[in-house]
Protein backbone atom coordinates (compact mmCIF):
# COMPACT_ATOMS: atom_id res chain seq x y z
CA UNK A 1 0.00 0.00 0.00
CA UNK A 2 1.73 3.11 -1.17
CA UNK A 3 -0.90 5.67 -0.35
CA UNK A 4 -0.03 9.15 0.85
CA UNK A 5 -1.51 9.59 4.32
CA UNK A 6 -1.91 12.89 6.13
CA UNK A 7 -1.60 14.09 9.71
CA UNK A 8 -3.01 12.03 12.58
CA UNK A 9 -6.71 12.88 12.78
CA UNK A 10 -7.88 10.50 15.50
CA UNK A 11 -5.57 9.90 18.46
CA UNK A 12 -6.64 7.33 21.02
CA UNK A 13 -4.32 7.12 24.01
CA UNK A 14 -4.48 4.52 26.81
CA UNK A 15 -8.27 4.47 26.81
CA UNK A 16 -10.05 2.34 29.39
CA UNK A 17 -13.78 1.86 29.77
CA UNK A 18 -15.94 -0.12 32.13
CA UNK A 19 -19.62 -1.06 32.08
CA UNK A 20 -20.09 -1.29 35.84
CA UNK A 21 -17.62 -4.06 36.76
CA UNK A 22 -17.02 -5.21 33.21
CA UNK A 23 -13.76 -3.92 31.72
CA UNK A 24 -14.75 -3.45 28.09
CA UNK A 25 -11.82 -1.44 26.69
CA UNK A 26 -8.32 -2.11 28.00
CA UNK A 27 -5.50 0.38 27.36
CA UNK A 28 -6.47 1.07 23.77
CA UNK A 29 -3.84 2.95 21.73
CA UNK A 30 -4.71 3.78 18.16
CA UNK A 31 -3.86 6.59 15.78
CA UNK A 32 -5.71 7.10 12.52
CA UNK A 33 -4.23 9.39 9.89
CA UNK A 34 -6.14 11.65 7.54
CA UNK A 35 -7.32 9.66 4.54
CA UNK A 36 -6.66 6.32 6.17
CA UNK A 37 -9.09 3.41 5.88
CA UNK A 38 -9.07 1.35 9.06
CA UNK A 39 -11.10 -1.82 9.46
CA UNK A 40 -11.68 -3.22 12.93
CA UNK A 41 -12.52 -6.92 13.14
CA UNK A 42 -13.02 -9.26 16.03
CA UNK A 43 -15.51 -11.58 17.70
CA UNK A 44 -18.71 -10.11 19.09
CA UNK A 45 -18.29 -8.63 22.54
CA UNK A 46 -14.68 -7.75 21.86
CA UNK A 47 -15.37 -4.01 22.31
CA UNK A 48 -14.93 -2.91 18.72
CA UNK A 49 -18.27 -1.11 18.43
CA UNK A 50 -17.78 0.44 21.85
CA UNK A 51 -14.41 1.76 20.71
CA UNK A 52 -15.69 3.61 17.66
CA UNK A 53 -18.71 4.86 19.61
CA UNK A 54 -16.24 6.49 22.01
CA UNK A 55 -14.81 8.50 19.13
CA UNK A 56 -18.01 10.56 18.69
CA UNK A 57 -18.95 10.20 22.35
CA UNK A 58 -22.03 8.07 21.99
CA UNK A 59 -20.22 6.25 24.79
CA UNK A 60 -18.13 7.77 27.54
CA UNK A 61 -14.77 6.40 28.64
CA UNK A 62 -13.29 6.58 32.11
CA UNK A 63 -9.52 6.70 31.57
CA UNK A 64 -7.16 7.89 28.86
CA UNK A 65 -7.77 10.46 26.17
CA UNK A 66 -9.24 10.56 22.67
CA UNK A 67 -8.55 13.50 20.40
CA UNK A 68 -10.22 14.21 17.08
CA UNK A 69 -8.42 16.81 14.97
CA UNK A 70 -6.56 17.78 18.12
CA UNK A 71 -9.77 18.40 20.10
CA UNK A 72 -10.28 16.33 23.19
CA UNK A 73 -13.44 14.22 23.25
CA UNK A 74 -14.93 15.10 26.63
CA UNK A 75 -17.97 16.62 28.31
CA UNK A 76 -17.21 20.13 27.08
CA UNK A 77 -20.21 21.24 25.05
CA UNK A 78 -18.13 23.25 22.60
CA UNK A 79 -15.74 20.37 21.96
CA UNK A 80 -18.62 17.99 21.52
CA UNK A 81 -20.28 20.24 18.95
CA UNK A 82 -17.03 20.53 17.03
CA UNK A 83 -16.46 16.78 17.08
CA UNK A 84 -19.98 15.85 16.08
CA UNK A 85 -19.69 18.26 13.15
CA UNK A 86 -16.55 16.50 11.94
CA UNK A 87 -17.39 12.89 12.66
CA UNK A 88 -20.32 11.12 11.02
CA UNK A 89 -21.60 7.67 11.86
CA UNK A 90 -23.45 4.95 10.00
CA UNK A 91 -25.25 2.42 12.19
CA UNK A 92 -26.01 -1.25 11.93
CA UNK A 93 -29.76 -0.60 12.01
CA UNK A 94 -29.63 2.53 9.78
CA UNK A 95 -31.53 4.62 12.34
CA UNK A 96 -33.24 6.76 9.73
CA UNK A 97 -36.00 8.96 11.14
CA UNK A 98 -39.20 7.17 10.09
CA UNK A 99 -41.46 10.24 10.34
CA UNK A 100 -39.41 12.22 7.82
CA UNK A 101 -38.97 11.67 4.10
CA UNK A 102 -35.60 10.60 2.75
CA UNK A 103 -34.87 14.16 1.70
CA UNK A 104 -35.94 15.55 5.09
CA UNK A 105 -33.72 12.99 6.82
CA UNK A 106 -30.78 14.37 4.87
CA UNK A 107 -31.51 18.07 5.31
CA UNK A 108 -32.48 17.96 9.01
CA UNK A 109 -29.02 18.44 10.50
CA UNK A 110 -27.67 20.82 7.82
CA UNK A 111 -30.67 23.15 8.20
CA UNK A 112 -31.16 23.02 11.97
CA UNK A 113 -27.66 22.42 13.31
CA UNK A 114 -25.38 23.90 10.68
CA UNK A 115 -27.80 26.68 9.67
CA UNK A 116 -27.50 26.10 5.92
CA UNK A 117 -30.11 27.76 3.71
CA UNK A 118 -32.80 25.23 2.88
CA UNK A 119 -32.21 25.42 -0.86
CA UNK A 120 -28.51 24.74 -0.49
CA UNK A 121 -29.19 21.85 1.92
CA UNK A 122 -31.57 20.28 -0.59
CA UNK A 123 -29.02 20.61 -3.39
CA UNK A 124 -26.33 18.97 -1.27
CA UNK A 125 -28.74 16.23 -0.23
CA UNK A 126 -29.73 15.47 -3.81
CA UNK A 127 -26.06 15.40 -4.79
CA UNK A 128 -25.31 12.70 -2.21
CA UNK A 129 -28.51 10.79 -2.96
CA UNK A 130 -27.40 10.62 -6.59
CA UNK A 131 -24.03 9.46 -5.43
CA UNK A 132 -25.56 6.51 -3.59
CA UNK A 133 -27.92 5.90 -6.52
CA UNK A 134 -31.16 6.56 -4.75
CA UNK A 135 -32.18 10.07 -5.83
CA UNK A 136 -35.46 8.79 -7.31
CA UNK A 137 -36.66 7.79 -3.82
CA UNK A 138 -36.09 11.22 -2.26
CA UNK A 139 -39.74 11.82 -1.35
CA UNK A 140 -40.49 8.40 0.06
CA UNK A 141 -40.39 7.44 3.72
CA UNK A 142 -37.68 5.17 5.12
CA UNK A 143 -40.04 2.27 5.81
CA UNK A 144 -40.96 2.16 2.13
CA UNK A 145 -37.39 1.29 1.17
CA UNK A 146 -35.47 -1.97 1.37
CA UNK A 147 -32.72 -2.43 3.96
CA UNK A 148 -29.97 -1.89 1.44
CA UNK A 149 -31.59 1.30 0.18
CA UNK A 150 -32.08 2.55 3.73
CA UNK A 151 -28.44 1.99 4.57
CA UNK A 152 -27.36 3.86 1.43
CA UNK A 153 -29.62 6.73 2.51
CA UNK A 154 -28.01 6.60 5.96
CA UNK A 155 -24.59 6.93 4.33
CA UNK A 156 -25.79 9.89 2.26
CA UNK A 157 -27.22 11.46 5.42
CA UNK A 158 -23.89 11.06 7.17
CA UNK A 159 -22.08 12.66 4.22
CA UNK A 160 -24.36 15.70 4.11
CA UNK A 161 -22.46 17.58 6.81
CA UNK A 162 -19.18 17.00 4.88
CA UNK A 163 -17.49 15.20 7.78
CA UNK A 164 -13.76 14.60 7.84
CA UNK A 165 -14.23 11.20 9.40
CA UNK A 166 -16.79 8.48 8.71
CA UNK A 167 -17.44 5.82 11.32
CA UNK A 168 -19.22 2.66 10.20
CA UNK A 169 -20.63 0.42 12.93
CA UNK A 170 -21.29 -2.96 11.29
CA UNK A 171 -23.09 -1.34 8.35
CA UNK A 172 -23.96 -4.59 6.59
CA UNK A 173 -24.75 -6.89 9.54
CA UNK A 174 -28.49 -6.26 9.50
CA UNK A 175 -28.90 -6.63 5.74
CA UNK A 176 -30.20 -9.51 3.67
CA UNK A 177 -27.31 -11.15 1.80
CA UNK A 178 -28.33 -9.88 -1.63
CA UNK A 179 -28.22 -6.27 -0.39
CA UNK A 180 -24.77 -6.27 1.14
CA UNK A 181 -23.11 -5.70 -2.21
CA UNK A 182 -24.85 -2.41 -3.02
CA UNK A 183 -23.85 -0.93 0.35
CA UNK A 184 -20.26 -2.14 0.12
CA UNK A 185 -19.98 -0.63 -3.37
CA UNK A 186 -20.91 2.78 -1.97
CA UNK A 187 -18.37 2.38 0.83
CA UNK A 188 -15.63 1.32 -1.58
CA UNK A 189 -16.30 4.42 -3.70
CA UNK A 190 -16.00 6.58 -0.61
CA UNK A 191 -12.76 4.89 0.38
CA UNK A 192 -11.29 5.52 -3.04
CA UNK A 193 -12.13 9.21 -2.77
CA UNK A 194 -9.84 9.54 0.22
CA UNK A 195 -12.35 9.95 3.06
CA UNK A 196 -10.99 8.90 6.46
CA UNK A 197 -12.95 5.81 7.45
CA UNK A 198 -13.04 3.64 10.54
CA UNK A 199 -15.19 0.59 9.92
CA UNK A 200 -16.27 -2.19 12.20
CA UNK A 201 -17.27 -5.04 9.94
CA UNK A 202 -17.16 -8.76 9.29
CA UNK A 203 -16.84 -8.19 5.55
CA UNK A 204 -13.29 -9.35 5.06
CA UNK A 205 -13.56 -8.84 1.30
CA UNK A 206 -14.04 -5.12 1.95
CA UNK A 207 -11.05 -5.09 4.29
CA UNK A 208 -8.86 -6.81 1.72
CA UNK A 209 -9.89 -4.51 -1.06
CA UNK A 210 -9.67 -1.04 0.46
CA UNK A 211 -8.24 -1.08 3.99
CA UNK A 212 -4.90 0.52 4.70
CA UNK A 213 -4.81 -1.22 8.04
CA UNK A 214 -6.80 -4.00 9.66
CA UNK A 215 -7.09 -4.23 13.43
CA UNK A 216 -8.06 -7.32 15.36
CA UNK A 217 -9.68 -6.83 18.75
CA UNK A 218 -10.47 -9.47 21.31
CA UNK A 219 -11.61 -9.18 24.94
CA UNK A 220 -11.31 -5.39 24.99
CA UNK A 221 -7.82 -5.08 23.59
CA UNK A 222 -6.13 -4.61 20.26
CA UNK A 223 -4.47 -7.97 19.67
CA UNK A 224 -2.90 -7.42 16.30
CA UNK A 225 -2.79 -4.85 13.53
CA UNK A 226 -1.30 -5.03 10.09
CA UNK A 227 -1.78 -4.16 6.44
CA UNK A 228 -4.43 -6.40 4.84
CA UNK A 229 -1.92 -8.51 2.96
CA UNK A 230 -0.05 -9.62 6.08
CA UNK A 231 -3.15 -9.55 8.28
CA UNK A 232 -4.85 -12.25 6.25
CA UNK A 233 -1.86 -14.26 5.08
CA UNK A 234 0.60 -14.07 7.96
CA UNK A 235 -1.46 -13.67 11.13
CA UNK A 236 0.94 -13.73 14.05
CA UNK A 237 -1.20 -14.34 17.12
CA UNK A 238 -2.95 -17.59 17.72
CA UNK A 239 -6.23 -15.81 18.46
CA UNK A 240 -6.27 -14.08 15.07
CA UNK A 241 -5.39 -17.35 13.32
CA UNK A 242 -8.33 -19.02 15.00
CA UNK A 243 -10.65 -16.09 14.21
CA UNK A 244 -9.65 -16.06 10.54
CA UNK A 245 -10.15 -19.80 10.27
CA UNK A 246 -13.64 -19.44 11.70
CA UNK A 247 -14.81 -16.61 9.46
CA UNK A 248 -13.04 -17.57 6.23
CA UNK A 249 -13.72 -21.30 6.19
CA UNK A 250 -17.39 -21.53 6.95
Amino acid sequence: MSKELGEPIIEINKVNKWYDEFHVLKDIDLTVKKGEIVVIAGPSGSGKSTLIRCINRLEEYQEGIIKVKGIEVNNDVKNLREIRANVAMVFQHFNLFPHLTILENLTLAPVWVYKKPKKEAIETAMHYLEKVNIADQANKYPNQLSGGQQQRVAIARALCKSPDIMLFDEPTSALDPEMIGEVLDVMINLAQEGKTMVTVTHEMGFARKVADRVIFMDAGQIVEENDPENFFHNPESERLQLFLQQILNH
Binding site: N56, L58, R81, R84, A85, V87, A88, M89, F91, H93, N95, L96, F97, P98, H99, L108, A109, W112, V113, Y114, K140, Y141, P142, N143, Q144, R157, A158, K161
Partner: protein, 362 residues
Protein backbone atom coordinates in the same frame (compact mmCIF):
# COMPACT_ATOMS: atom_id res chain seq x y z
CA UNK B 1 -35.97 -29.24 -13.53
CA UNK B 2 -37.75 -25.96 -14.24
CA UNK B 3 -41.18 -25.16 -12.83
CA UNK B 4 -43.43 -22.85 -14.89
CA UNK B 5 -44.82 -19.79 -13.03
CA UNK B 6 -48.35 -20.18 -11.62
CA UNK B 7 -51.18 -17.67 -11.91
CA UNK B 8 -52.97 -16.43 -8.80
CA UNK B 9 -56.60 -17.51 -8.59
CA UNK B 10 -59.58 -16.28 -6.57
CA UNK B 11 -60.32 -17.89 -3.19
CA UNK B 12 -63.28 -20.36 -3.07
CA UNK B 13 -66.76 -18.83 -2.91
CA UNK B 14 -67.46 -19.93 0.66
CA UNK B 15 -64.46 -17.87 1.83
CA UNK B 16 -65.82 -14.57 0.54
CA UNK B 17 -68.82 -12.29 0.88
CA UNK B 18 -71.58 -11.86 3.43
CA UNK B 19 -72.37 -15.54 3.96
CA UNK B 20 -68.76 -16.34 4.73
CA UNK B 21 -68.62 -13.38 7.11
CA UNK B 22 -71.72 -14.58 8.98
CA UNK B 23 -70.41 -18.14 9.16
CA UNK B 24 -67.04 -17.00 10.48
CA UNK B 25 -68.19 -14.35 12.91
CA UNK B 26 -71.67 -15.31 14.10
CA UNK B 27 -72.08 -19.06 13.72
CA UNK B 28 -68.61 -20.53 14.10
CA UNK B 29 -69.35 -22.64 17.22
CA UNK B 30 -72.35 -23.67 19.37
CA UNK B 31 -71.27 -21.13 21.98
CA UNK B 32 -71.06 -18.45 19.33
CA UNK B 33 -74.48 -19.41 17.94
CA UNK B 34 -76.00 -19.11 21.44
CA UNK B 35 -74.51 -15.66 21.84
CA UNK B 36 -75.76 -14.57 18.45
CA UNK B 37 -79.31 -15.60 19.39
CA UNK B 38 -79.04 -13.90 22.79
CA UNK B 39 -77.71 -10.74 21.14
CA UNK B 40 -80.55 -10.62 18.65
CA UNK B 41 -83.08 -11.15 21.47
CA UNK B 42 -81.65 -8.24 23.49
CA UNK B 43 -81.62 -5.96 20.47
CA UNK B 44 -85.23 -6.95 19.77
CA UNK B 45 -86.25 -6.05 23.31
CA UNK B 46 -84.46 -2.70 23.35
CA UNK B 47 -84.53 -1.16 19.91
CA UNK B 48 -88.24 -1.22 18.88
CA UNK B 49 -89.48 0.36 22.16
CA UNK B 50 -86.78 3.03 21.90
CA UNK B 51 -87.73 3.83 18.32
CA UNK B 52 -91.38 4.09 19.36
CA UNK B 53 -90.51 6.39 22.27
CA UNK B 54 -87.97 8.58 20.48
CA UNK B 55 -89.58 8.85 17.04
CA UNK B 56 -92.92 7.16 16.32
CA UNK B 57 -94.84 8.24 19.44
CA UNK B 58 -92.83 11.41 20.06
CA UNK B 59 -94.09 14.98 19.79
CA UNK B 60 -92.01 17.33 17.70
CA UNK B 61 -94.32 20.31 17.14
CA UNK B 62 -95.72 22.68 19.69
CA UNK B 63 -94.62 25.26 22.22
CA UNK B 64 -95.58 24.00 25.67
CA UNK B 65 -95.88 20.86 27.71
CA UNK B 66 -99.57 20.64 26.93
CA UNK B 67 -98.76 20.03 23.27
CA UNK B 68 -97.11 16.76 24.24
CA UNK B 69 -100.02 14.35 24.15
CA UNK B 70 -98.39 11.18 22.77
CA UNK B 71 -96.86 8.35 24.79
CA UNK B 72 -93.37 9.08 23.47
CA UNK B 73 -90.74 11.69 24.07
CA UNK B 74 -91.60 15.37 24.27
CA UNK B 75 -88.96 16.90 22.02
CA UNK B 76 -90.79 20.20 22.19
CA UNK B 77 -89.03 20.62 25.53
CA UNK B 78 -85.58 20.37 23.94
CA UNK B 79 -86.62 22.65 21.11
CA UNK B 80 -87.98 25.32 23.44
CA UNK B 81 -84.98 25.11 25.78
CA UNK B 82 -82.36 24.74 23.06
CA UNK B 83 -80.76 28.10 23.75
CA UNK B 84 -80.29 27.15 27.38
CA UNK B 85 -78.77 23.80 26.49
CA UNK B 86 -76.42 25.51 24.09
CA UNK B 87 -75.50 28.72 25.92
CA UNK B 88 -76.76 28.49 29.52
CA UNK B 89 -77.82 31.80 31.04
CA UNK B 90 -76.10 33.83 28.34
CA UNK B 91 -78.37 36.91 27.78
CA UNK B 92 -80.83 36.45 24.91
CA UNK B 93 -79.88 39.75 23.30
CA UNK B 94 -76.20 38.82 23.14
CA UNK B 95 -76.57 35.29 21.78
CA UNK B 96 -75.22 36.38 18.40
CA UNK B 97 -71.77 36.57 20.01
CA UNK B 98 -71.26 32.89 20.92
CA UNK B 99 -72.88 32.01 17.59
CA UNK B 100 -70.27 34.06 15.72
CA UNK B 101 -67.53 32.33 17.72
CA UNK B 102 -68.86 28.87 16.86
CA UNK B 103 -69.29 29.69 13.18
CA UNK B 104 -65.82 31.15 12.93
CA UNK B 105 -64.37 28.11 14.72
CA UNK B 106 -66.00 25.79 12.18
CA UNK B 107 -64.72 28.05 9.40
CA UNK B 108 -61.22 27.86 10.83
CA UNK B 109 -61.31 24.09 11.04
CA UNK B 110 -62.40 23.84 7.41
CA UNK B 111 -59.76 26.40 6.48
CA UNK B 112 -56.92 24.47 8.11
CA UNK B 113 -58.18 21.27 6.53
CA UNK B 114 -58.01 22.57 2.98
CA UNK B 115 -55.18 25.02 3.44
CA UNK B 116 -52.07 22.86 3.22
CA UNK B 117 -48.77 23.92 4.70
CA UNK B 118 -47.97 27.38 6.11
CA UNK B 119 -47.61 26.20 9.69
CA UNK B 120 -46.89 29.80 10.77
CA UNK B 121 -50.39 30.95 9.84
CA UNK B 122 -51.97 28.01 11.64
CA UNK B 123 -49.92 28.75 14.73
CA UNK B 124 -50.97 32.38 14.62
CA UNK B 125 -54.59 31.28 14.42
CA UNK B 126 -54.14 28.99 17.40
CA UNK B 127 -52.98 32.02 19.37
CA UNK B 128 -55.28 34.65 17.87
CA UNK B 129 -58.52 32.65 17.86
CA UNK B 130 -58.73 32.12 21.65
CA UNK B 131 -58.20 35.86 22.16
CA UNK B 132 -60.91 36.63 19.64
CA UNK B 133 -63.24 34.08 21.24
CA UNK B 134 -62.62 35.48 24.70
CA UNK B 135 -63.27 39.07 23.62
CA UNK B 136 -66.45 38.03 21.83
CA UNK B 137 -67.79 35.93 24.69
CA UNK B 138 -66.77 38.11 27.59
CA UNK B 139 -67.24 41.46 25.91
CA UNK B 140 -66.25 44.80 27.39
CA UNK B 141 -64.70 45.95 24.11
CA UNK B 142 -66.16 47.50 20.94
CA UNK B 143 -69.34 48.45 22.76
CA UNK B 144 -70.24 44.87 23.63
CA UNK B 145 -71.61 44.64 27.16
CA UNK B 146 -69.71 42.38 29.53
CA UNK B 147 -71.21 38.93 30.04
CA UNK B 148 -69.87 37.48 33.29
CA UNK B 149 -68.48 33.93 33.04
CA UNK B 150 -71.10 33.04 35.69
CA UNK B 151 -73.66 33.31 32.93
CA UNK B 152 -71.83 31.09 30.48
CA UNK B 153 -73.29 27.64 30.44
CA UNK B 154 -74.52 24.64 28.50
CA UNK B 155 -72.60 23.28 25.56
CA UNK B 156 -70.74 26.60 25.25
CA UNK B 157 -69.23 26.17 28.71
CA UNK B 158 -68.47 22.50 28.09
CA UNK B 159 -66.64 23.40 24.90
CA UNK B 160 -64.75 26.28 26.50
CA UNK B 161 -63.56 24.10 29.38
CA UNK B 162 -62.70 21.12 27.18
CA UNK B 163 -60.86 23.08 24.50
CA UNK B 164 -58.92 25.26 26.91
CA UNK B 165 -58.09 22.14 28.93
CA UNK B 166 -56.90 20.24 25.86
CA UNK B 167 -54.95 23.07 24.26
CA UNK B 168 -53.15 24.15 27.44
CA UNK B 169 -52.59 20.73 29.03
CA UNK B 170 -50.87 19.47 25.89
CA UNK B 171 -47.74 21.68 25.99
CA UNK B 172 -47.54 21.47 29.79
CA UNK B 173 -47.83 17.69 29.55
CA UNK B 174 -45.03 17.61 26.97
CA UNK B 175 -42.77 19.63 29.27
CA UNK B 176 -43.60 17.36 32.21
CA UNK B 177 -42.87 14.24 30.18
CA UNK B 178 -39.53 15.71 29.10
CA UNK B 179 -38.86 16.60 32.72
CA UNK B 180 -39.52 13.05 33.78
CA UNK B 181 -37.00 11.82 31.17
CA UNK B 182 -34.46 14.44 32.19
CA UNK B 183 -30.97 13.60 33.39
CA UNK B 184 -31.06 16.54 35.80
CA UNK B 185 -32.12 15.04 39.15
CA UNK B 186 -34.01 18.07 40.46
CA UNK B 187 -36.11 18.53 37.33
CA UNK B 188 -36.71 14.82 37.15
CA UNK B 189 -37.85 14.40 40.74
CA UNK B 190 -40.04 17.51 40.60
CA UNK B 191 -41.76 16.18 37.49
CA UNK B 192 -42.19 12.71 38.95
CA UNK B 193 -43.57 14.16 42.19
CA UNK B 194 -46.02 16.41 40.34
CA UNK B 195 -47.26 13.68 38.01
CA UNK B 196 -47.66 11.06 40.70
CA UNK B 197 -49.27 13.52 43.11
CA UNK B 198 -51.85 14.74 40.60
CA UNK B 199 -52.63 11.26 39.39
CA UNK B 200 -53.27 10.24 42.96
CA UNK B 201 -55.98 12.88 43.46
CA UNK B 202 -59.49 12.75 41.95
CA UNK B 203 -60.44 15.59 39.61
CA UNK B 204 -63.37 16.45 41.82
CA UNK B 205 -60.97 17.17 44.67
CA UNK B 206 -58.84 19.37 42.45
CA UNK B 207 -61.91 21.34 41.39
CA UNK B 208 -63.05 21.66 44.97
CA UNK B 209 -59.61 22.86 46.03
CA UNK B 210 -59.49 25.36 43.18
CA UNK B 211 -62.92 26.70 43.93
CA UNK B 212 -63.20 26.62 47.73
CA UNK B 213 -59.77 26.29 49.29
CA UNK B 214 -57.71 28.46 46.93
CA UNK B 215 -59.66 31.68 47.62
CA UNK B 216 -58.81 31.32 51.33
CA UNK B 217 -55.23 32.14 50.39
CA UNK B 218 -56.13 35.21 48.38
CA UNK B 219 -55.86 38.58 50.11
CA UNK B 220 -59.07 40.20 51.31
CA UNK B 221 -61.22 41.54 48.48
CA UNK B 222 -59.41 39.76 45.68
CA UNK B 223 -61.87 37.70 43.71
CA UNK B 224 -60.50 35.41 41.06
CA UNK B 225 -62.94 34.31 38.39
CA UNK B 226 -64.53 30.96 39.21
CA UNK B 227 -64.33 29.65 35.65
CA UNK B 228 -60.66 30.64 35.43
CA UNK B 229 -59.96 28.71 38.64
CA UNK B 230 -61.72 25.65 37.25
CA UNK B 231 -59.78 25.95 33.99
CA UNK B 232 -56.45 26.13 35.81
CA UNK B 233 -57.40 23.14 37.94
CA UNK B 234 -58.50 21.04 34.98
CA UNK B 235 -55.49 22.01 32.86
CA UNK B 236 -52.96 21.17 35.57
CA UNK B 237 -54.80 17.94 36.31
CA UNK B 238 -54.95 16.85 32.70
CA UNK B 239 -51.30 17.77 32.03
CA UNK B 240 -50.16 14.95 34.31
CA UNK B 241 -52.14 12.42 32.28
CA UNK B 242 -50.90 13.83 28.97
CA UNK B 243 -47.34 13.59 30.32
CA UNK B 244 -47.76 9.92 31.14
CA UNK B 245 -49.25 9.22 27.71
CA UNK B 246 -46.33 10.84 25.96
CA UNK B 247 -43.86 9.06 28.23
CA UNK B 248 -45.25 5.75 27.03
CA UNK B 249 -44.50 7.00 23.52
CA UNK B 250 -40.91 7.79 24.46
CA UNK B 251 -40.46 4.24 25.67
CA UNK B 252 -41.49 2.84 22.32
CA UNK B 253 -38.77 4.75 20.47
CA UNK B 254 -35.59 2.76 19.80
CA UNK B 255 -32.34 3.96 21.35
CA UNK B 256 -30.92 4.20 17.83
CA UNK B 257 -33.09 7.25 17.13
CA UNK B 258 -31.48 9.16 20.00
CA UNK B 259 -28.03 8.01 18.89
CA UNK B 260 -28.57 8.99 15.27
CA UNK B 261 -29.74 12.43 16.37
CA UNK B 262 -26.70 12.78 18.65
CA UNK B 263 -24.31 11.61 15.96
CA UNK B 264 -25.72 14.17 13.50
CA UNK B 265 -24.92 16.87 16.05
CA UNK B 266 -28.46 17.79 17.12
CA UNK B 267 -28.66 19.49 20.52
CA UNK B 268 -31.09 18.37 23.24
CA UNK B 269 -34.04 20.54 22.19
CA UNK B 270 -33.51 19.83 18.50
CA UNK B 271 -33.24 16.11 19.18
CA UNK B 272 -36.40 16.06 21.27
CA UNK B 273 -38.38 18.54 19.19
CA UNK B 274 -37.50 17.30 15.70
CA UNK B 275 -36.88 13.59 16.15
CA UNK B 276 -38.20 12.11 19.37
CA UNK B 277 -41.40 14.05 20.19
CA UNK B 278 -42.96 13.88 16.72
CA UNK B 279 -42.60 10.10 16.82
CA UNK B 280 -43.66 9.76 20.45
CA UNK B 281 -46.79 11.86 19.90
CA UNK B 282 -47.63 9.88 16.79
CA UNK B 283 -47.45 6.63 18.72
CA UNK B 284 -49.59 8.00 21.53
CA UNK B 285 -52.35 9.56 19.43
CA UNK B 286 -54.93 6.89 20.37
CA UNK B 287 -54.10 7.26 24.07
CA UNK B 288 -53.97 11.04 23.92
CA UNK B 289 -57.35 11.22 22.23
CA UNK B 290 -58.67 8.79 24.83
CA UNK B 291 -57.46 11.13 27.55
CA UNK B 292 -59.02 14.10 25.80
CA UNK B 293 -62.33 12.27 25.41
CA UNK B 294 -62.44 11.55 29.11
CA UNK B 295 -61.51 15.18 29.77
CA UNK B 296 -64.45 16.20 27.61
CA UNK B 297 -66.81 14.09 29.66
CA UNK B 298 -65.18 15.05 32.97
CA UNK B 299 -66.06 18.69 32.33
CA UNK B 300 -69.47 17.79 33.79
CA UNK B 301 -67.84 17.72 37.22
CA UNK B 302 -67.69 21.51 37.25
CA UNK B 303 -71.31 21.27 38.32
CA UNK B 304 -70.16 20.76 41.91
CA UNK B 305 -68.49 24.16 42.00
CA UNK B 306 -71.56 25.88 40.65
CA UNK B 307 -70.83 26.11 36.95
CA UNK B 308 -73.61 24.94 34.66
CA UNK B 309 -72.24 22.83 31.84
CA UNK B 310 -74.32 20.93 29.29
CA UNK B 311 -75.26 18.16 31.72
CA UNK B 312 -76.13 20.55 34.52
CA UNK B 313 -78.54 22.32 32.18
CA UNK B 314 -80.80 19.23 32.25
CA UNK B 315 -81.37 19.74 35.97
CA UNK B 316 -81.94 23.44 35.48
CA UNK B 317 -84.37 23.19 32.57
CA UNK B 318 -86.29 20.19 33.91
CA UNK B 319 -86.87 22.09 37.17
CA UNK B 320 -88.71 24.77 35.26
CA UNK B 321 -92.26 24.86 36.63
CA UNK B 322 -93.68 24.57 33.10
CA UNK B 323 -91.58 21.59 32.14
CA UNK B 324 -91.46 19.39 35.22
CA UNK B 325 -90.61 15.73 34.60
CA UNK B 326 -88.75 16.25 31.35
CA UNK B 327 -85.48 14.84 32.73
CA UNK B 328 -85.47 11.80 30.45
CA UNK B 329 -85.74 13.84 27.27
CA UNK B 330 -83.04 16.15 28.56
CA UNK B 331 -80.63 13.38 29.46
CA UNK B 332 -81.16 11.54 26.17
CA UNK B 333 -80.57 14.73 24.24
CA UNK B 334 -77.45 15.62 26.23
CA UNK B 335 -76.11 12.07 25.88
CA UNK B 336 -76.60 12.37 22.14
CA UNK B 337 -74.69 15.68 22.01
CA UNK B 338 -71.83 14.22 24.10
CA UNK B 339 -71.77 11.20 21.82
CA UNK B 340 -71.50 13.36 18.68
CA UNK B 341 -68.45 15.11 20.07
CA UNK B 342 -66.66 12.10 21.54
CA UNK B 343 -67.37 9.98 18.49
CA UNK B 344 -66.03 12.70 16.17
CA UNK B 345 -62.92 12.88 18.31
CA UNK B 346 -62.27 9.18 18.06
CA UNK B 347 -62.90 9.21 14.28
CA UNK B 348 -60.48 12.12 13.97
CA UNK B 349 -57.88 10.15 15.90
CA UNK B 350 -58.30 7.22 13.49
CA UNK B 351 -57.92 9.60 10.57
CA UNK B 352 -54.78 11.18 12.06
CA UNK B 353 -53.25 7.78 12.74
CA UNK B 354 -53.80 6.78 9.14
CA UNK B 355 -52.57 10.06 7.77
CA UNK B 356 -49.38 10.02 9.82
CA UNK B 357 -48.56 6.38 9.18
CA UNK B 358 -45.43 6.60 7.05
CA UNK B 359 -44.89 2.89 6.63
CA UNK B 360 -47.21 2.68 3.64
CA UNK B 361 -47.17 4.49 0.34
CA UNK B 362 -49.18 7.67 -0.06
Amino acid sequence: MVYPPKHSKEPPVLERGAIAWIRHNLLSSPFNIAFTILGIAILYMVIPPFIHWAFLDATFVGHSKSDCTGDGACWVFVKEKLNMFMFGFYPQAELYRPKIVIVSLLGLLAFSKFFKGRGVIKLALIIIFPLFAFIMLHGGYFGMPIVETQKWGGLLLTLVIASVGIVLSFPIGILLSLGRQSKLPIIKSLSVFYIEFVRGVPLITVLFMASVVLPLFFPEGVNFDKLARALIGITLFEAAYVAENIRSGFQAIPKGQYEAADALGLGYWQKMGLVILPQAIRITIPNLVGTFISLFKDTSLVMIIGLFDLLAMVTVTANDRDWLGMDTEGYVFVAFVFWIFTFSMSRYSKYLEKKLDTSKGR
